[in-house]
């Protein structure tokens, strides 16, 4: 493989890795703070991309507005999951896992039933044009946009968690539910907000993924969701910045593996690296010791 190709692969790796990071951060928001592993997160991503398609189908002929509609559907899904599969089972760690898994499977099979299970093409905001950077290295404007959107989403999340009262409430809740209550935080409401924001991140990830491949299918969230969990666990639960680094690293490693050996090495890389890293660091790369025991 010659150098320009390698650099092009690197860009693709960064943009897919950024999607993994967003998925992982979405998981982390409800897992690291509210102690719920939301196994319907993948289905929520899928609904984000189908929401976009639905908006087109209903006659909305603008990519960005349709994307907003898709994200809206994902937010509603996140909120509904909290009310239906999480709140009634509050505190029952296994039960919420099973319930969210059930909701996820239901949604995926429902969409498969309605759409006959075929992948669907997803419109693009514009047709990609390639620009030569230097020495024959080309990058498409869609790729640049994917990377920029991902960066803004992550900066937005950091600002939300650091600066806004709702974001601070989520962080307090993550550290101690009782302390959260004692400073006047309505834990039910903040949990709901957390699921809403997590749903929004799922919607964004689902749409970015559809933009990357130009298509989506009912079970797109299964692999993507698993990758998100891999990133979260390898990064260390509760660590947003870790999710970003590990997500990018995984995306880059995967595309490099494809470039060097072919696409069947792709998932091997993901899961093997998880096992190896966890053997060396059981709490993840950026995780604090004791944190997992305390919060799981």
């Amino acid at each position: 493989m010659y150098l320009p190709h390698l650099v092009e692969q690197l860009f693709i790796g960064i943009s897919t890795g950024a999607i993994y990071a967003i998925v992982a951060i979405g998981f982390n928001l409800v897992f690291g703070t509210m102690n719920v592993l939301n196994l319907a997160h993948g289905a929520t991503m899928m609904l984000g991309s189908y929401g976009l398609l639905l908006a087109y189908y209903l006659g909305l002929d603008n990519f960005w507005l349709a994307a907003v509609a898709g994200i809206g559907l994902a937010i509603i899904t996140g909120l509904t999951i909290e009310r239906v599969a999480v709140r009634p089972l509050r505190g029952h760690w296994w039960n919420t896992k099973v319930a969210t898994l059930g909701v996820g499977l239901f949604l995926e099979n429902l969409v498969a039933l309605i759409t006959a299970g075929f992948p669907k093409n997803v419109p693009r905001p514009f047709n990609p044009t390639y620009h030569e950077l230097f020495a024959g290295i080309e990058i498409s404007d869609v790729q640049v946009m994917l990377i920029l959107i991902s960066i803004s989403v992550m900066l937005g999340m950091v600002a939300f968690l650091r600066r806004t009262p709702a974001g601070k409430a989520i962080r307090v809740l993550a550290q101690s539910p009782d302390l959260a209550r004692s400073v006047g935080i309505n834990v039910d409401r903040v949990t709901l907000i957390g699921f809403g924001v997590s749903g929004m991140l799922a919607g964004v990830a689902g749409i970015l993924n559809a933009m990357t491949y130009g298509s989506t299918y009912p079970f797109v969230g299964v692999t993507l969701g698993l990758k998100g969990i891999v990133v979260l666990i390898v990064a260390g639960i509760g660590n947003m910045r870790g999710c970003l680094y590990v997500g990018l690293a995984l995306g880059i490693a995967e595309t490099m593996a494809i470039g060097l050996g072919g696409s069947h090495y792709r998932d091997l890389i993901a899961y093997l690296s998880m096992v190896l890293i966890l053997l060396v660091r059981p709490h993840g790369l950026f995780g604090e010791e004791g944190r997992v025991e305390r919060e799981v």
Partner: protein
């Protein structure tokens, strides 16, 4: 003519259970305006359980709890803890007293952010409390996890004061503190009571220290209240020793 002022906190026949385990039963106690009241007793007597039931961390299995905010008497038994906070009740727990992954400044801010609903007021209170707790002011950008035990306890008390509570519940503030720091914290609690007009219900293992600052005390044996009285009465009587020795 004498007007009757209701007690700030009035607990009657409270029972706290964890499933089949009865942690405390038949608990009746009051805290009047201006008072520091101590709740004493041996390990496992149920002191923390009583405090947690008052705050709403656990739902009382039976009994009534009322809180007088200066204007109205609220029936608060079974209310969620965040509503207690909004009514003007603060708690300083015995374990995990601070938010470890937030800096000192943010720990303090969080104490008022959801109760004061006005950022300028939050900042005014922060400035006032940093003046009052110079140790915390020096460490404002430091993560709370890196503070010493005494500093963490001070931070928790300062956080509790952010929204100007009427009643403060403290669970073993002396836990793990060196004698010098302990003296400082107890002097501080007395000032909070006298100068800020915060009524205090304090759970303590350090009986002597607690009786020094308390006006009255309740002594628990396992699961219930054994006896009560003014601090002097409780300190002098033989029953205190009995309660701790379980005789």
């Amino acid at each position: 003519m004498k007007t009757v002022v209701p007690p700030v906190l009035n607990v009657e026949n409270l029972e706290v259970r964890y499933g089949a385990v009865v942690a405390a039963t038949g608990i009746s106690l009051t805290v009047h305006r201006g008072e520091v009241v101590a709740l004493l007793g041996p390990n496992g007597a149920g002191k923390t359980s009583v405090l947690h039931a008052i705050m709403g961390f656990v739902k009382p299995a039976a009994g009534s709890v009322s809180f007088f905010d200066g204007r109205y008497v609220h029936d608060i038994a079974g209310l969620e803890a965040h509503r207690m906070a909004h009514l003007g009740i603060a708690i300083v727990p015995s374990a995990q007293v601070v938010l470890p992954r937030m800096v000192v400044e943010e720990n303090l801010e969080v104490g008022g952010l959801f109760l004061l609903h006005d950022r300028t007021e939050v900042h005014r209170r922060m400035t006032a409390l940093f003046e009052r707790f110079p140790v915390l002011a020096q460490r404002r950008k430091q993560y709370a996890a890196t503070l010493s035990g005494g500093e963490q306890r001070q931070l928790a008390i300062a956080r509790g004061l952010m929204a100007k509570p009427k009643l403060m519940l403290l669970d073993e503030p002396s836990l793990g503190l060196a004698p010098m720091i302990l003296k400082e914290i107890f002097a501080l609690l007395r000032r909070i009571n006298r100068e800020d007009g915060v009524d205090i219900l304090i759970v303590e293992q350090n009986v002597n220290k607690a009786l020094e600052i308390a006006d009255r005390a309740y002594v628990m044996r396992i699961g219930g209240i054994d006896f009560s009285g003014t601090s002097a009465e409780v300190a002098e009587g033989e029953r205190l020793k009995d309660a701790y020795l379980g005789t």
